[in-house]
Symmetry: C2
Subunit: 158 residues, 2 copies
């Protein structure tokens, strides 16, 4: 095996610092403004971007890169808030569809400006256009790589 070089180690440490602090920062911001963690917000936001504000549970898990059990837990919580609703799937009796309710959509409209400002202030206001492009490219390389070796071990198929 090959250890990390000094530069790789420094990059890895900086990346862990940045992602740990960012997760903490966005979770705090959303807990304060909407009473939910960042991952729950991502579910509402992902649903809002679809044409009819709904997705099959398996598709929602894949788009947000989480396990089905983690998704079920989050959806149950957000159903309790009245922001989501589960329905049985018309085309597949075993499948379930997750629907963003009007109340959920309104909550998203209410909290999106504060959340986008937090993301912009923490990341995009600090980066040059070249750095933003590089971060996107590097992130896609890492994300694509983690789809392959996993095979059926990707979170949403567990």
């Amino acid at each position: 095996m090959k250890w990390l070089t000094e530069e790789e180690q420094a990059t890895w440490r900086a990346f862990l610092d940045a992602t740990t602090l960012l997760e903490d920062h966005l979770d705090r911001q959303l807990q304060r403004d909407a009473g939910i963690p960042h991952m729950y917000y991502a579910l509402l936001s992902t649903l809002s971007e679809t044409p009819d504000r709904q997705l099959r549970m398996t598709e929602l898990a894949e788009r947000t890169k989480i396990t089905r059990s983690r998704l079920s837990h989050a959806v149950a919580r957000l159903e309790g808030n009245g922001w989501l609703r589960r329905e049985s799937c018309a085309s597949d009796r075993r499948g379930q569809v997750c629907v963003l309710t009007d109340a959920g959509y309104e909550e998203l409209v209410r909290t999106a400006p504060g959340h986008v400002t937090a993301v912009r202030t923490a990341i995009f206001d600090r980066l040059t256009p070249e750095q933003t492009a590089a971060l996107g490219q590097i992130s896609r390389i890492i994300a694509d790589g983690l789809h392959e070796p996993h095979g059926s071990d990707v979170p949403w198929l567990r």
Copy 2:
């Protein structure tokens, strides 16, 4: 407020995908090989890099960017494994020092090759030297930015 541009949105989504998949991948790898999540491994690794394999609890929380309550919980678990030990601090009666035990060091020596290989395979083997340098630079910008506005709201002072 200003919404994200299309490129910023695409970058943000790719970054979330990459960090969510990476966290899942490294947690799975370490749970399988050492029975602990990635954050616990980071505590052992951080202690191992100090001259006498020990740090004050507050310093360990700051270096790993987590809250003191999250640290206490993790340290209690790792004490149960015999990998860490808490001692009262010689210079400050209220302070506590966290010490990596010999068993903890041996566990780290045993699991480090597999973990470093997982990190290398997921990230550094896929990036050019320029991309590695850019990722380090961008991560430092984001991490530095999240130290400032927080003030005393940084995780380790809560």
